[in-house]
Structure formats: C-alpha cells, structure tokens
Amino acid sequence: MARSAAAGIPVTDAMERLRPFAPLLLLLVLVVGIDVAEPGFASLTTLSVVLSDASILFILSAGMTFVIMLGGIDLSVQAAASFASMVLAILLPSIGYAAFPAAVLAGLVAGLVSGVVHVKLRISSFIATLATAGIMTGLSLLSADGRTVAFLDAGRDQSQWITGAWLFDIPNVILIAALVAGFGMVLQRYTRFGRYSTAIGAGEPAARAAGISVDRYKILAFGLSGAFAALAGVLLAARLSSGSPELANQLLLPTIAAVVVGGTAITGGVGNIGRTVVGALIVSIVRIGMTFVGVDIFAQQIVFGAALVLAVCVTIDRSKIAIIK
C-alpha cells in the first residue's frame, strides 16, 4: 500500500506527524503574516473583534462538527439561527428571559425533526436538512411578514448577559463560546454520545453490530446541531438587538469551512471539537484580516476560496481516501 511505501521516507514521515498540527500552524502563520503586512493586527482590540466574530461561527460549527463526524451534513444551521432570532424577538416582550431558552429549544426541536426525517425516512441528510431549512425560513418570513423585528428597550436590557463584558472587558460572547467549547469537548471525550458518534462515523456497520442504536445517536446529533445553531442565532440577535429572517444568511459556508479547515473529515469518522475551534479562528482571521490589510471586498471571496482548498489539502491526507465524491 502507498502508506507503507511512504513510511520509509523520512520527509513524508515527518509531514505525517505534523499533519494534525497543520491548522494550528496555519493560524499562527496567518496572525504573524497579517501583523507584518499591517502592523497593529495582533493587538488586544483586534483580537477581541476577531474572537467575537469567531465565537458565533464556532457555536454554529460546534453542533455541525458532530453531524459531520457521523458522516452527515446539516445545511439548516443558518435557517435555524435566523429562525431562533425571530422566536426570540417575538417572544421577548411577552415572556422575558424565558424567550432565550425557548429560542434554543425551537432549534433543538427543528434539529431533531431533521434527524428523524433523515434516519427514519432514510433520506440523505443533505436533502433532509435542506428541506427543514426551507421550512424554517418560511416560518421566519411568515411570522412577521418578512420584516425584521427589533427588540424593545426592555429586550436590550435582557440581552445584557450577551452583549456585556462582565469579566476583564472580555465580551461575554467570547465567554459563552468558551463554555460551549468546554461542553463540546466533555461531550466528545467523556460521554456515551461522543464515543458512539465517533464510532458510528468511523465504522457504522461495526457500531451497529456492537449493539449501538445508531439511529438514536444520529437523531441526537442533529438535535444538538439545531440547538447550537439556535444559540448562535440568539447571540447574533442580541448583538443586533433584533431578529431577522435573513439574520444568518451567508453563514452556512463559513460554518462548513470552519469544521473542515479545522481538520474534521467531511467523510466522517475523523475530527473533534477542538479542531473546530481552530477552524473557526482561521476562517474569522482570514475574513477580518483581509479587510484589515485592505483586500478589495470583492476579491476577498477569491482569497477565501483558495485558502479553503489549501487548508483542507494540508490537514487531511487525501491519498488515503479511495473515492472522492
């Protein structure tokens, strides 16, 4: 096999060992590179901006990481985030703080529905989540005739726990993302759900033959993805003080990019939430950094596309994948 043949060559061997750290190295190179090109980037102020941006992206990607690790995809995250922002904005005046968990719950339920459709009706997750995304977008649009719903003053006050900076001037959004990351890591490493998700992604027939209720854990993963997407939508809404049916548009691709750039294989099995933290940071830095060094807003898409291909190439050994689909 190609692997054993390559193992004899020291250079390839070293590259193999470095590969898992490639995203981290890429992150460092980016920060240093941008700072050299445009001194001042590596300052606390910019860092705070980058981290806040990356926080939302990371929370969107956190649930998606589990879904992708299981070998599926969730195309409904941006719709779920927007939908949650509408639920929040509409419910805040009447039920106050309870609107926050209600919005997240809405995302959880939507995710579980996607999961059930995918697993029980045996429809690929690509289609199932595309469909639920459509339904959620429709509901968001119908709920306020397609308009944005602004928070009232009370709503702004109630969003303080998101928009504030209670600890050493660190925006609370960043702390919330850190909590989500910690939660995700525990979930992955120390729980039945995490272990089984990895097993199912790496070898579904074997996981099934070991007696794992594969269907149940797949549905749970989609529920988790929906809930995290909704949480991201809630955070976005709080920062903008409004809910909008189009709030999270344009965030689906960066979300998938964050997961994949971090080194989680889109084919499933390999990956973890820690990698997605790095992936989200890379995507955010590329986006913000380009503005910082003055890359034309239209040209940014080109750089972004090229960076995505490069990142995936270096993080995963493509030669081990037999068929690319």
Binding site: R192, R195, Y196, P205, A206, A207
Partner: protein
C-alpha cells in the same frame, strides 16, 4: 498456453502464494481447488491483472508477459468472470459487454449504438443467451447475468490474437442446478475457442467439468491430477493435507453441555428465506449450522442477532420469549456476534483497542455518567493479557493489528458485555493456521465458562470438529440434526447427503 512459473505473493507476514507453478493448455478446462485461504483467489487476481506477484513469471505461448492491469491481461487473452458479478446493473447488456471498449464503435467521438448492439448480439449468441442487448443488466436474473459476463469475456476474441483464457471464480455458487447444467454445456461447447480456469468449492463439479485439476494448500500447489483419475475424497484429502487428528480441534476439551437452555427457537421463520427452525442451545454447547450458500443458514445467524427480524415462530432467551428487531436488542438480551466481515462489522478499525473492547457495554468504563479513561484502559489491558492479544498498547488503533488479534478484540468486547450467547459467523475466515488454533482454544474456554455458541464455518471439518450438535439446512429448512459428541463425530459425507 498460459503458464505460471514460480509465482509468490505476500501480504505483510502472511505468505498467500509460495512458488506456484501451473499451466493452462489450449482448449482445456483446468480446475483449481483448495480450502479458503489456500491462495486460489490471490492467484486469480494475479492472472486477471488486478494484483502483481512479488516474484515469478507469467507467460503466454512461451513469451513472458507482465499483467500490470486488467486491460493488459485482456490484451493477452485473459478475462475474468467475477464471483460477485461485475456487471453495472443500471446499464444495458450491450453497454456492459463493451464497457471501456467503446472505441471500436466510435466515429468522430460519437458512439454508433446500433453497431454496438449488433456486436453484442453476436457475443450473446456464442453463449446461447437469448436476451435483448438493450435491456438493463439489472433486469436479468443471476444465471443470465453470468452468461452476459461470459459473453463479455468472449468479446475479447475480437481484440486480441492471443489464445483466450477465461477465469471463472466460483461461478456455480449463486446458480441453481439447472443453470449449472446450462453453464457446463456452454463451457464444453466453447472449449474449441477458449481455455478455462475453473475455481469451485464443489469438488464433484470440478471433476465433472475439468480435464485436469490443481490442488492448492497453504499458498502452494500440492498436487496436479487428471480428472478422470481422481475422486472427490482424493481431492479432499489433498486439500486438507493432514491426518484428521482430533487434537487439532481440541476435542479432548469438549465437555458435554450442562442442561440449562440459553436460547431456544420454535418454528422460527423469515418469510421466503427459512422456515420452521427448531433448536435449543444449552449452557456450554457449541451448536453448528451447516449448509451450502442459499440454504438459509447465513440468514438464520443474522436473524439470531436481530439484523433480519423473524416473521413467524418464536425465540426464547433464558426461557423468556424475545423478539429481536435490531442488534441492539440482541445485545441487550445477552447475545454477542462475531461477524464474518471482521473489517467492516467486527471492529471500528480507526478506534483504539480500548474503545473497541468497551463498545458494546460502555457502562463498565463509566463513573458518574462520564467515561473514566483510566478504568477503560485497565479493562482493555486485562483482556490484552488474558487473551494474549499482541498490541503495543490499548491505545493502538485496531487497523494496524493482525486478523487473529482483531478477532480476539471482538471476543473481548462480548466478554466485557457479559454476553452468554455468542454467534460465531465464520470466526476463522482469513486467519492463518496458528491463529485458527488459538480461536479453537478460545471456543473451548468459552464453553467451559458455560457460554452457548452458535457456529457457522467455512469448512465442514471445522464444524464437525468443534460442535456438540450440528443442524444441517437445505433450501431454508433443517434437513438433519447430528449429535457430535467427542469421540463420536459424524462424517462429512453423512452431513453432505443432507446438504445437497
């Protein structure tokens, strides 16, 4: 004439072929027999160009050839008819016959469909198959597809001047008796235009159709015989190649079962597959199920583990009626399964040894609702020691371990889950002799602990050697039941009578 001279091939430490030499003369049908793992398939892959030998030479009509891929093998007149048929079911018969050979029908880059269909008709006529070349291959039955494969192989005649050699890998395993007769009749009539290398487990068939037979064992050709001067028992003795001594299967350790019934089937059936299966598996008993492909025995084992839910009858685990709708329900009922497909169903290859050991019952490695990694490692380390699993550590990824060690990890999983009924689905497939003997020892250990075992195996010899009781299945029903107590084992011939 196709000649194989001193060919060897290894996979890691396993020597699949050792200095193999044989020849296939013009207009000859040559049989190739051997147990599973004897090296037949590897040899076929080398001849068909899908695998390269490590050493040795191939020659056609005295000229040395290198078969670097299928196309090159085709150029030298060698074509393979695959066991797991290779037709693309969504394409037409004509398209299949000319797959990757469309160039002869193209003009200015466009395909002349009519000419291609006409050419397909010619090839189909050679094998006497009367089907419309425009129908999809998927609409044909197995027997007809096999004939299309044969026609596809014969289409080579148009493209090469080399004498044609057709490799047939277990062509009869999926065919019914009347279709086998048709296939053999075609082979006899086609002998004037091609030679055949015929691989089959059914020794009587091999003798009936072949002019000469090669016998392989442990990667070597151990005998060459003219068919009319051999008998089935002769061939069999050469394939097995050792005196059947009871020690090999640890017969001395076969203790009588201890009474209490663990698993009982009453009139168990799956619509259209098998019916009215009755048995009672006792503590410490090894119950074998024998039968040819299509007898329903594979499906029966799948049903006992919840993969294929029963449609009638009942299953009783420890005396309680139990319905197994999924493997997870079977595991919950205390049943474990060691699958035939170790690499896909046995282990999650990219997980660690430890994670695979605890996969069926993660509870044992959990405390306060979370996985305690140190405890998990300790559990795995314990099994590594008790089953002498050769691995650098419990953190090692299973993919890098040998087949025998992988099999032990699957077993360790079910021991960890405290399964008291184990279904062993071809547990020694693909293992070398040493690893097989370790598995036999383990089976006796499990019996001694009171675990009930349902066994299906690649060879009758293994089934007879290991089991207390043997059920023989044919066409979905149990046709015989043998007591196989130590020292009073039934013969293979006795079982065979009820299998075919």
């Amino acid at each position: 004439m196709l000649k194989v001279d001193g060919v060897s091939k290894s996979f890691g430490s396993v020597r699949a072929l050792r200095d193999v030499s044989l020849e296939i003369r013009r207009n000859e049908v040559v049989g190739l027999v051997g147990e599973n793992g004897a090296g037949k398939s590897t040899l076929m892959r080398i001849l068909s160009g899908t695998m390269r030998p490590d050493a040795g030479e191939l020659s056609v009509d005295g000229r040395r050839v290198v078969l670097s891929d299928t196309r090159r093998a085709n150029e030298h007149g060698i074509a393979m008819v695959f066991q797991e048929q290779s037709l693309l079911l969504n394409m037409s018969v004509a398209e299949n016959i000319h797959l990757a050979q469309e160039k002869q029908f193209t003009r200015l880059g466009l395909l002349a469909r009519r000419r291609m269909i006409e050419a397909a008709r010619v090839h189909l006529a050679k094998v006497g198959l009367e089907v419309d070349p425009t129908v999809k291959a998927g609409e044909l039955n197995f027997a007809a597809r096999q004939m299309v494969e044969l026609a596809k192989a014969l289409a080579l005649e148009e493209r090469t001047d080399a004498p044609l050699t057709i490799l047939l890998d277990e062509p009869t395993s999926v065919l019914e008796a009347k279709d086998i007769d048709v296939l053999f009749a075609r082979m006899r009539s086609l002998k004037s235009r091609a030679s055949f290398l015929f691989v089959s487990h059914r020794l009587d068939e091999v003798l009936a159709i072949s002019d000469r037979v090669y016998v392989m064992k442990d990667g070597m050709v151990v005998a060459e015989r003219a068919s009319d001067a051999s008998t089935v028992p002769d061939l069999h003795a050469m394939m097995v190649g050792r005196d059947l001594h009871s020690e090999y299967y640890r017969e001395a350790r076969q203790a009588p079962p201890q009474g209490h019934v663990l698993l009982e089937a009453r009139g168990l059936s799956v619509q259209g597959i098998f019916r009215d299966v009755d048995f009672a598996l006792r503590r410490g008993e090894v119950l074998g199920i024998a039968g040819v492909i299509g007898s329903g025995r594979e499906e029966l084992t799948r049903t006992l583990f919840g993969f294929l839910p029963q449609t009638a009858g009942s299953l009783h685990v420890d005396g309680a009626a139990t319905m197994l709708r999924s493997p997870s329900e079977a595991v919950a009922a205390g049943i474990g399964y060691i699958p035939r497909e170790r690499r896909t169903e046995g282990l999650v290859m990219d997980l660690s040894v430890a994670a695979n050991v605890t996969l069926a019952k993660l509870d044992v490695a959990m405390s306060h609702g979370l996985i305690a990694h140190a405890r998990e490692r300790a559990i795995a380390a314990d099994w590594i020691r008790r089953l002498s699993i050769r691995t650098p550590s419990s953190a090692q990824v299973c993919r890098n371990l040998s087949g025998g060690n992988q099999q032990k990890i699957v077993l360790a999983r079910w021991m960890t889950a405290r399964s008291h009924i184990l279904i062993l689905d071809h547990p020694t497939r693909g293992l070398d002799v040493g690893a097989k003997e370790e598995v036999y020892d383990l089976i006796r250990d499990l019996s001694a602990e009171g675990i009930g075992i349902i066994l299906t195996s690649d060879t009758l010899e293994e089934t007879i050697g290991l089991c207390h009781t043997i059920l023989v299945m044919r066409d979905g029903a149990i046709t015989a039941r043998f007591d196989a107590a130590a020292g009073a084992k039934p013969t293979q011939v006795a079982l065979l009578e009820h299998m075919v």
